[in-house]
């Protein structure tokens, strides 16, 4: 790598700061919303977002130019959050991904039956998603946020959470099912449903 010999220290600093502004600060609203999902509290979320940018700025030299800055900021944010919560090493409970896949299919049939097959095409569900996520147990929520909101792979999420990929998969499937259940109930309460065309549904049991 060649560095122009004539660049002063102040100029180098100026360049770094311009880069930080263009690359990192533009993600402020996204980081703020991410912090809000993690903390479930506006005031803690703003503190966390501020601390994230401060940390990012002080460690800007470790950011690899051309890589995904949004993701890098989310990682910093999550690490800061986990440190304050001290819950990274949560004990794994017994989980069964197959049961959750079956549950997910049943939820879909149930939703389709009451006219909610296009529920998730609605643009007004954003606040309901956030409230739904707030209500889910932390280990499931962490997996859903990492993979579905942040866009991590199963393997990346496993590394972040310090658990095997199979555990991430189980928690993700459970978390999605719980979230869908909440959203379907919300839609029902809001009267989004259409009455079934046929008689009563068969005796499927949702767990």
């Amino acid at each position: 790598m060649t560095i122009p010999a004539v660049m002063t220290l102040a100029e180098t600093q100026q360049l770094t700061e311009a880069e930080f502004r263009a690359e990192a600060l533009r993600w402020l609203p996204n980081v703020a919303r991410y912090a809000r999902l993690l903390t479930r509290n506006q005031s803690d979320a703003d503190d966390l977002a501020q601390e994230t940018f401060l940390r990012a700025y002080l460690n800007w030299s470790t950011f690899r130019p051309g890589s995904d800055c949004r993701k890098w900021l989310f990682t910093i944010c999550r690490h800061l959050f986990l440190r304050t919560e001290q819950r990274a090493a949560r004990i794994v409970s017994v989980e069964d991904p197959e049961a959750d896949l079956q549950g997910t299919a049943e939820l879909y049939w149930d939703a389709a039956e009451i006219g909610l097959a296009h529920l998730f095409d609605r643009i007004d569900l954003g606040p309901a998603f956030e409230r739904g996520l707030e209500g889910i147990q932390a280990e499931y929520r962490d997996a859903v946020i990492l993979i579905d909101v942040e866009g991590c792979t199963y393997a990346d999420a496993a590394t972040s959470l310090g658990v095997p990929v199979g555990t991430v998969r189980s928690r993700l499937f459970r978390g999605r099912r719980l979230l869908q259940q909440t959203l379907i109930e919300h839609a029902r309460d809001m009267g989004f449903t259409t009455p079934p065309k046929t008689g009563p549904v068969d005796g499927r049991v949702l767990t």
Binding site: A32, L54, F129, D148, R169
Partner: protein, 87 residues
């Protein structure tokens, strides 16, 4: 619901998340894709779950209502650590 593919609906439905998350090997992915082309029943559920995942991936895209005050606060903290003021 279809006899035209080599993979039963039950297996296709069980792979819904692995497929949509692209956490599946290429050969299985292709078999499922072919199945979905022919089977309305499975395709409807995949469409539903896909829309669910897209909704979540958009959760962070909306602006926040207090963006300006938070931006001011963050910039003030940065300036205290040597970040230059905007001109």
């Amino acid at each position: 619901m279809t006899e035209h593919t080599d993979i039963p609906c039950e297996h296709v439905i069980r792979s819904v998340w692995d497929y949509l998350d692209d956490e599946i090997d290429a050969e299985r992915k292709e078999r499922i894709r072919l199945h979905l082309e022919l089977c309305d029943h499975c395709r409807d559920q995949y469409t539903f779950e896909g829309a669910f995942l897209r909704s979540m991936s958009r959760l962070l895209d909306d602006d926040i209502d207090h963006a300006e005050s938070l931006r001011g606060r963050v910039e003030a903290a940065l300036i205290a650590h040597g970040f230059p003021k905007t001109t």
